[in-house]
Symmetry: C2
Subunit: 151 residues, 2 copies
Amino acid sequence: MTEIDDTDRAILRALAADAYANAGEVGRALGISQPNAWRRIKRLSDAGVIDGAHVPADRAGLGFGVTVFLGIKLATKGATRLEEFERAVIAIPEVQVVQHVLGLFDYRLRVVARDIADFERVLRRRIMVLPAVGQVEANVLLTEERRDGPI
Amino acid sequence: MTEIDDTDRAILRALAADAYANAGEVGRALGISQPNAWRRIKRLSDAGVIDGAHVPADRAGLGFGVTVFLGIKLATKGATRLEEFERAVIAIPEVQVVQHVLGLFDYRLRVVARDIADFERVLRRRIMVLPAVGQVEANVLLTEERRDGPI
DNA sequence: CTTGAAAAGAACTGCCT
DNA sequence: AGGCAGTTCTTTTCAAG
């Protein structure tokens, strides 16, 4: 395991606030030199703590106005069934996130669609036809707020 | 609204695949010139379609091994209650995402904790004490897979 | 819309404390 | 470990076809 000290945590906070911040900016913000910041960022990257960045495209602006969260309970389980289901569900373009979870449901999906009619098409033609799908629960996203969480 | 043509969509796909790709790489991938790719990326940024990148820190590596999704149904509603609840819940450091949703639940939360014991502390001391919390459902994250979704 | 080139800035290296 | 000064590389901007 790599040691992560308070300076590293401060760097992670700075990068969480601005993923495009460079070593110079991060260093200035923390009061350490650019090469020092650079070395630490590189160490964190090499250790896999920082692993690439993600560009959140504006779905609504791209014509995908509807986001729905599905909770899915499989009718039949077993290792083969789970893998089969995961492979099938990740292949659906409208599915953004597949979460294997423990609790009332077995899987949670984040699905985007152009509108409710489009979502119904995805649900009926793509999701409900998957092998072993049992109970399905849906929640339509109204607003979403993200924080960086504890670092 | 800004016009987004197929080339822009291709650029968004390229950036979704690699957020750190520069104008030169994107241009080469699409068969357009570097300055042209650069201008388009800048236009998309200025238009807000691309709005910064997000660095997904490795929670497990930082000592937050447990991620739980909570579905929350409020006991009492009304505009004031909703705003009150949202403000209180977003102030909890362990809460990463607050989604106001339509369906069986009113809110969905993504909560991180060091371990199950730590999660129980957050749930009892932070979540359950919030005003108007009614029914709560929990799902513990096992594995998560993300795709870029349709662009 | 392209090429080419120069200016600005960031990444990386080695040396010193 | 961390800072300083320098080298190399990329990005960004501009001029011209």
